[in-house]
């Protein structure tokens, strides 16, 4: 059944392009640091060298290899993106389905909280929280980002599940005495599987972008290398105004390629699975 579900996706050219680019960068992040064994933090006297045979993407102010930084950066940014996405998806699913199943006061309270978080500028709150933490691991950054991007998903899930709740098969399950938990897992969640997957893709996107933003303002992970941290170092060292393009162009290209390919994957899935948008 799964095969018939995803087959139409692979007939869509845009989807193939998107998933190929994404997988390429995923491989760069997973295999890159294993295959290109240069220490990204090792300082050398070859500082601010343009790309050459020895340094495929040049070096930064401390003589560190930009390609090695890029590969490690892609890995960390994807890690943070995935982690943030898992957190957002879990919160969103729990809040959305609880509100839909319990109704009444539970629904009202949860939706009030959701609306408050939705209206509150999440990146600002993330900046505020991060500013009070002296040591920020990759995981902490992912949690800060994941905590604030779930509201629109929770609302969509709730709306969708509310309409499913009025279907006959759900009535039958309720009459058969299913617990709320069983009802959610067996009857409700399967109906939102594709939407949840599409949202997961967008959450990864938000995580990668959020990390870059936090890092640029000086609140990224305090250890390790990420795409955002590379950009921050480049800005701090005035790489842009001194024309060291090999330093700030690659991390930006990686961010845009990753997030754009994820966007393409998500929108083409919408086109394929949503009959109202399907191409005739």
């Amino acid at each position: 059944m799964f095969a018939t579900m995803i087959r139409p996706l692979f007939k869509n050219k845009k989807f193939i392009v998107g998933i190929s680019i994404f997988l390429f960068f995923l491989m760069l992040g997973i295999l890159g640091p294993v295959l290109y064994r240069v220490n990204p933090t090792k300082m050398t006297w070859d500082y601010e060298q343009p790309p050459s045979a020895k340094y495929p993407l040049g070096t930064d102010t401390y003589g560190r290899d930009v390609l090695a930084q890029l590969l490690h950066g892609i890995r960390s940014s994807l890690y943070i993106g995935f982690l943030a996405a898992i957190i957002s998806l879990s919160i969103g699913t729990v809040v959305g389905s609880l509100a839909a199943v319990k109704r009444g006061i539970v629904d009202d309270t949860l939706m009030a909280i959701t609306n408050i978080v939705l209206t509150t500028p999440s990146i600002l709150i993330a900046i505020l929280i991060a500013s009070y933490l002296r040591i920020r691991s990759m995981e902490v950054v992912a949690v800060i980002l994941g905590l604030f991007q779930w509201p629109w998903f929770a609302r969509a899930i709730r709306a969708q599940l509310m309409s499913v709740m009025s279907r006959e098969y759900v009535y039958l399950s309720i009459m058969a005495g299913y617990s709320d938990m069983r009802l959610v897992i067996e009857d409700l969640l399967p109906t939102i599987a594709t939407y949840a997957f599409m949202s997961f893709v967008l959450f990864i996107n938000g995580g990668i972008m959020g990390e870059a933003g936090l890092s640029l303002i000086g609140l990224g992970p305090t250890r390790g290398i990420s795409l955002g941290l590379m950009l921050q170092w480049a800005v701090l060292m005035e790489a842009v105004r001194r024309g060291l393009w090999w330093w700030f162009v690659p991390p930006g290209v990686a961010i845009v390629a990753l997030t754009a390919s994820l966007m393409v994957i998500s929108t083409t899935m919408d086109e394929v699975f949503n009959p109202r948008l399907r191409e005739e």
Binding site: T120, L128, W152, I217, R241, G252, I255
Partner: protein
Amino acid sequence: MASKPLFKFLLRRFIFLLVTYIVATTIVFILPRAIPGNPLAQLLSNLSRLAQANPEAIRAAERTLMAEFGIDKPMFVQYVTFVFKALRGDLGTSISFYPRKVIDLVVPVIPWTLVLLLPATLVAWILGNTLGAMAAYRRNTWIDKGVLTTSLIVSQIPYYWLGMIFIFLFGVRLGWLPTQGAYSLGTIPNLNWGFFLDALKHYVMPFASIVISAMGGWAIGMRVMVVYELGSDYSLFSEYLGMKDKRIFKYAFRNSLLPQITGLALSLGGILGGALITEIVFNYPGTGFLLFKALTTLDYPMIQGIFVILIASIYLANFIVDFLYALIDPRIRLGQEE
């Protein structure tokens, strides 16, 4: 014609935003006190350690801080003082610019941010929606495909990175435009043509980087929305009635604008965040640049103050958008909602 339903709607939104604002400022208040390791206590102990260097000044700063945060008083008293002071516009004293008040430091930079942010956001919204609607009208032609592909990529470019590319290309390589600041060093902001032209030159790149990367998202959203509306029952019915395509498109366009207005309200926070970072890249003397300085010096009173103001402005903007929405949507104006 200020109808009763309209007033009711606005009142409901106002109360909601007020509650949200109270929640947000409470978070601003609780965070430094709740995070393990208590950053405030740490800050104060750091200050007293530094006291040997310049005893008088730092001890004075410490006393002010102690009094302002009132750490020795019970939490509830601290909270009430915080709220009342904030309402009076007293956001405390800056540490890095001691003894200047936070409010006096923040207020002068706000216009710079507004001048950059408001026009850029509006221009991006208008251009993006127009492009998106055009693409949907000429669905599946090369215009549609071109707009869609470009928007998809462009919408994913962070404002600040596009800014960096612009600085490198037009500032460093071609030397057409100044690479930083809002006006040339050494000039004093005043109201003559020379200064205006100078400021305009500095304005082009930050403005363009926000407009271009924000536009893509609106174009994609609008295209999907119009395509959806064009496939809905009323469009099909109008088509069977023999109505002209252009006319049907006009209805679809109007119906699609409403969700885009809601989208504008919801994305304001994200746009502001992106613009703040763009300011840092351009060394543009706005709120983002001040916030960056406060963050690097761990000037917590200033960080808090900036947040209280930024969050309030986001909610105010939200309310203005709600008001426009209510004026445009007849269902709210006539009270037929729900």
